[in-house]
Symmetry: none
Subunit: 275 residues, 2 copies
């Protein structure tokens, strides 16, 4: 799309119009303008109080690209766009704390649940940042970056984490294999000399994961454990033990902290292997 071409005439007259136009534009935009669109869609409430430079920085584009975006959207420039949002600004969008309080006190239902899970997630992340054992983390990274193939295993609640790790490893071109319990088809013959196992398990620990870790250990492979406590049965078979505590809400445990640990591990290993 050429920058001097205004796809559908006049500028949006309301925030609603604006959102529709944004949706219409969809994915027809070149890269930088797409970044603007995405960032703006996620931060509509900041337009009224930010400068072009700030918005551009947020979208990670130069200011001039953001200006082009404004024009594509049908405005004469950023000031013009901003006027729309300043006029519409009824201090409607409250800040995080207020919003959370509203959600919690609200008539219940899903919004309330969400507030609780968000809060639990934040607390888990905070706890992780405070309690991380950096030595163990460094050791885990070291072990995994020397390995041939990394075998990732996790069942039940740990399976999403395992599959996420497999995905990130793949993106970073680290040789990795996801072991699924599916069909109880044992994939452990794929373990070779020099490989490593990254095992993820939380109480109640799944038998398959424990046995794969123990097996690998017995055959002299390195094992890294991602688990809930140092006294976990998984810890016994491991060369490096990473622990993550999730704050639970009701009977449910989310995965915020575990996922954060997982991506850290994957990125650190990926980086180390390239060096």
């Amino acid at each position: 799309m050429r920058a001097d071409e205004n796809p559908s005439g006049a500028a949006p007259q309301s925030v609603e119009d604006f959102r529709m136009r944004l949706a219409d534009l969809g994915d027809t935009l070149p890269k930088r303008l797409q970044q603007c669109a995405t960032y703006v869609a996620a931060n509509l409430d900041r337009i009224a109080v930010s400068t072009v430079a700030e918005m551009a920085a947020g979208a990670d584009v130069p200011p001039s690209a953001f200006m082009r975006f404004c024009q594509i959207m049908g405005f004469s420039g950023y000031s013009d766009l901003q006027r729309l949002f300043r006029e519409a600004y009824a201090p409607g969008f409250p800040d995080y704390a207020t919003r959370l309080a509203n959600l919690k006190s609200g008539a219940g239902g899903a919004g309330r649940l969400l507030a609780e899970f968000v809060e639990a997630g934040r607390m888990s992340l905070e706890g992780l940042a405070k309690s991380v054992d950096e030595a163990a983390l460094a050791q885990a990274v070291d072990v995994l970056s020397r390995a041939g193939v990394i075998h990732v295993v996790g069942m039940r609640r740990a399976f999403p984490v395992a599959s996420y790790l497999a995905y990130v490893f793949e993106k970073m071109t680290v040789p990795a294999m996801l072991h699924e319990g599916a069909g109880k088809l044992d994939q452990r013959h794929a373990l070779r000399e020099g490989d490593a196992v990254l095992a993820i398990s939380f109480a109640p620990y799944s038998e398959e994961t424990l046995s794969l870790a123990a097996d690998a250990r017995a055959r002299g492979l390195a094992v890294v454990a991602l688990t809930d406590t140092l006294s976990s049965p998984l810890a016994r078979a491991a060369d490096a033990v990473l622990t993550v505590q999730e704050v639970d809400f009701g009977a449910f445990r989310s995965l915020s902290a575990t996922i954060a640990m997982a991506i850290t591990l994957a990125v650190a290993v990926g980086t180390a292997r390239k060096a």
Copy 2:
């Protein structure tokens, strides 16, 4: 009162401080400054989005009088005062992009990486709490709790989320089926009248997910989308669209907010179906 005299030292640090200072000043102010105080008290919410000129016009005083008012209140000028209100409104804003740039140059091992991913996760959760569309969430819960079997589909980065949903649904005894792209074995014959599809996809959207959603839609099944923007191609085929933005760190995106949304959805649906 002399204009160069600052009645009680430092500038207010919060909107609450500000109001108290305003009240303290009471009616000890000269006429023009009193006008400012009155107008400001009645229009606190406009400060963030107005220029001095506009505020001054509102208070019916010249801009210079308004500037004096700002200084009497303990600020260095209008910009200083305005910053208080802009920050109160969008806390923690300044500014992730800048920090990222700093980080890239700085050293630091895995511990540092972890801190960044934790921070990104926290910001994502905050963003979710602020931007959640409660109506869409309620609708999604409604649709899914009426469905026969819930078909969960997600590839690549969305796959961990899909598998997590399948796990939680199972724990709550909600009939659900996880569609894996694996082996390209098409499982869509499992879709039956009265079922619903819960599709998860982020840019770049995976073809399989889109086509399954479109297919289900064409056959009259309900579709709920969990995606990154309202303009996502997935949104077009859906009866309810939930959007979640993850703050990225470098080239990497975690899943904190997405997982929080997923567990909320699963628990809300599970609860609704039991009622």
